[in-house]
Each structure stands twice: as structure tokens, then as C-alpha cells.
């Protein structure tokens, strides 16, 4: 049973907290931009849509750096959250699939501002190879195996002696997703974020997470239907959920077998 807290205090950080940290971070940055030097748990809670006690509990897991009677120093808080999340450094990211979604991600402020540096973008379509997209140029998928030799990779302060980007992002059509995943694993990528609507199989040492952009919409659909069933006007008000998922992650065991296999 591994799993220990993140930074100074040896506390274990629960998954639920990990998922709220980016939310707090974003709010703190907005508040900083608005000129505030300190934030109270009350403020953060209001903006994040959660209970103030939860904010305090979450933040206390990163260490005790609030000031009683005042709140948290916004700038310091932001840096501590980043440290806990491990985004106080640059993570090189390779994106496969230069369609609209891939391009959107490569260009997204969220990626670049949070320490995710896209070092390569691949596509199989000769028509887009060579296109400049944000900081990179679309490479032919066949070059994927050269991921380790990337120039750009050297620019990053050699992150942690990584020979290849730690993170691969798949934004291909679902038909190509498994092959791409296999090849990413083959070159040594340690974690994969899959946007293709397809269940993938990877070795157990590879961290695999899924994002399905339509799940949020489906959850919305549920609550809209709900509201209708209770008659117009009875919109579910603040009975509504606050944090929500968009993904699924299968365990390693026999996933492919089940999809493809006879008994």
C-alpha cells in the first residue's frame, strides 16, 4: 500500500481532493488577477461551489499555511497547490491526432499555463503534416518512434531524466486509438489520456485515463429531464451536483478479451 501525501506533510491526499485542487487553483489565479492578495476558505468555497470546511480540510492536507483571522496568501496558495499537483515543473506531452480536438488542446491556454508543454503533434493525414499548430508542427505518425530524439524535448530542463514525454494524449478517431496507444507504450510513454471514445488496453504500469466530452452533456440531459418530470418551474435548483466526471478507466484484466472474445 503505497500512496503518501504530496509535499511537506506526510498526509495522504484523497482522490476527491486531488480533483478539487485544480479548481481551487484556477479560482485563486482569477482572484490574484483581480488584485486580491489573500483568500478566505469562505470565498474559495463560494466560488468553487463547495463547503468552506471542505476547502480548509483540503488545503490543510497540503500543509498549514493559512493565517488565522486573515485567510490564505493567494500567491503562496497557488504555488502550494501547483507543488502538490506536481505541476510546479514542465511535463512534456505528445499529442497524437491533429484534428480539431488535438489542435484545440495544443493551443489551449489551460495546457500551456499549467506546465504541460506539447513537444510533438502527430497525424497520419499527409494533408496536415507540416501545419504549424501552436508551438509545434504536425509530424507524420510514422515518426512516432523517434519521440525520444526530439529536439524540443532537450529544451526542457531534462525534467527528470525522462527519455520520452511522460504523457501521451490521443485525439485520433476511435478506430486508430488502440494502435496509437500500443505505439506510445512501445516508445516508453508512461501515461495516456484518451479522448477517443474507445476502451483501450495497456500494460498495468501505464496510467490510462479517459475523457469523454459528451458525458457532461449527458449528465446535463439527466438533470434537465428530471426538472421536466417535476413540472416546469420546479427546476432542481441547488439540489444540483457540483463536481462531475467525464471519464472511465478500465482495469487491466482481460479488457480486450471481453470485447473481442469468445468465452
Amino acid at each position: 500500500m503505497p500512496q503518501v501525501g504530496s509535499g511537506s506533510p506526510g498526509r495522504r491526499i484523497p482522490e476527491a481532493t486531488v480533483e478539487r485542487l485544480p479548481v481551487y487553483q484556477r479560482i485563486v489565479v482569477e482572484l490574484l488577477r483581480a488584485g486580491m492578495a489573500t483568500v478566505s476558505s469562505e470565498q474559495l468555497a463560494g466560488l468553487a461551489g463547495v463547503n468552506a470546511a471542505m476547502v480548509r480540510k483540503d488545503l490543510s492536507l497540503l500543509g498549514s499555511f493559512g493565517t488565522r483571522g486573515t485567510g490564505y496568501d493567494a500567491a503562496y496558495l497557488a504555488s502550494q497547490i501547483d507543488r502538490a499537483l506536481g505541476v510546479d515543473r514542465e511535463w512534456p506531452v505528445a499529442v497524437v491526432g491533429a484534428g480539431n480536438l488535438g489542435r484545440a488542446l495544443v493551443n489551449s491556454e489551460g495546457f500551456s499555463s499549467r506546465g504541460f508543454r506539447v513537444v510533438a503533434l502527430y497525424d497520419i493525414d499527409p494533408g496536415v503534416i507540416g501545419d504549424p499548430v501552436g508551438p509545434v508542427v504536425v509530424r507524420p505518425l510514422d515518426d512516432l518512434e523517434d519521440l525520444a530524439d526530439l529536439d524540443d524535448l532537450a529544451d526542457i530542463g531534462d525534467v527528470s531524466g525522462e527519455p520520452v514525454p511522460a504523457i501521451g494524449v490521443i485525439t485520433t478517431p476511435s478506430s486508430a486509438a488502440q494502435e496509437v496507444a500500443d505505439r506510445l507504450v512501445g516508445v516508453g510513454v508512461r501515461s495516456i489520456l484518451n479522448f477517443a471514445p474507445r476502451v483501450l488496453v495497456v500494460p498495468p504500469h501505464v496510467l490510462l485515463r479517459y475523457v469523454d466530452l459528451s458525458i457532461e452533456l449527458q449528465v446535463m440531459s439527466f438533470y434537465l429531464s428530471q426538472a421536466e418530470r417535476h413540472g416546469p418551474g420546479s427546476i432542481v435548483e441547488r439540489e444540483l451536483p457540483v463536481l462531475h466526471s467525464v471519464g472511465l478507466t478500465p482495469t487491466a484484466e482481460g479488457v480486450g478479451d471481453q470485447v473481442l472474445g469468445a468465452p
Copy 2:
């Protein structure tokens, strides 16, 4: 305290279950395509990365339509999940922002195949107005107020007497997000899905959900750092989380005040 179950049985469906339903749905559809007529909770659980008992509990909330000794009829299961989610009909959706993300969503199979029909796509950039994107053409943002008069809207079997799309999706730069939200609310849109990295304020009767594509990556960063801290090789294996969030939803109260306001 409203909130009742979704379909036949009067049971209340917990948020956690609602978020897993789209996951099951997707898997069932994949299995159907692979030619399977029935699914067991065990199979479903393996592919979704959750416990089989949880699958059964989740599905039992939609009614008891499994067959003991056999499993669930895949096609029927899919239809029941859709009904529970309220996607057994078409939801008209308006997307604002025809950048890469907006285009990706409009074209996404996930949207169209799950009953979300994009009836309008708006942008402010004259350079892209008129571009065909999937089933629609980019309209000038100034036409947003005409949302109610849309031809396409009439095509849909008048969903539920809705005068305007029930769902608005914001994929603009964050600087424009609040104004767009205000205008969507102004024309009567009842729920908004915001991809812009900005906290928004809407009246309490409007359902607002957020998606931040970088949150998943940040959660990954956390677990990668974790793994490193425990030394290479000690990758956190199946201690890893399975379902995860990408959003935040603030409560209505004084959100704007807090961001902008003096005490």
C-alpha cells in the same frame, strides 16, 4: 426537496450513478457492435473499471431487467440507460465559439450519437462566418438573439415545446464567456456547459456546468509525481483512481462580487 428516480421505479438516482451511466452505455454499445447480445455485470464492471456489485446496484436503480443466470440484454440495457439519462430524445444544442474546440464538439460523434443535435454555431470572427461545420454553418454572433426562430429547430420533433435550445455550449475565449452566457440566458437557454476557463455567473434557475480539459492532465500529473516520489518502478498500480472529474460549478451567491468586489 424534489429529486426522484428517473424512470419506472420511483428510486432516486444518486449523482455518482448518473455519472457512471454514460460509461456503461458506451461499453454496452461497443459490445453490441462486437456482436454480443447479453452482458453480465462482471463484464461491464471489468470494462468500466468498477466493482460488479456496483454495476448491479446502479442498474437496479433503473428497474430490474436483468436475467438471473444470464445477465442483461444488451440492446434493452442500452435503451434503458438512455431513457434514464433522458437522451432517448433529441436535445437541441447551440454552440458559441467556432474555434477548434467548438468545431471538434460539433463534429464529435459523441454529441451526435447521443441525441445532442447542434442547431446553431456562432462566432464573432467574420473570417469564419459562413464556414460549414458538420451539420451547420457558422453564424454571426449578432444573430444569437434569433435563436428562437431557427429553422433547424423546427425540424426536431418539437422536443418538448421548447422555444429555444435547452442547452448552450460556450467554447469562446474566456474573455467573452460571461457576455455570451448572459446573452444565452437572455434568449431563454436553460442550461449552459462552459469550456472557457472562467467562473461564470448565471441566475439560479439556469443549470451551469464547467469542463476544464486540463484538469484531467493535472490529476495525471499528481499521480505521476506520486509515482516518482515512491521511486521509479513503484508506480502506483491499481491504487489509481478510476472515475474523475473535470469541472467545477459555483453556487449562485455573490460570485461576481467576490471576484470583483471590495469587502
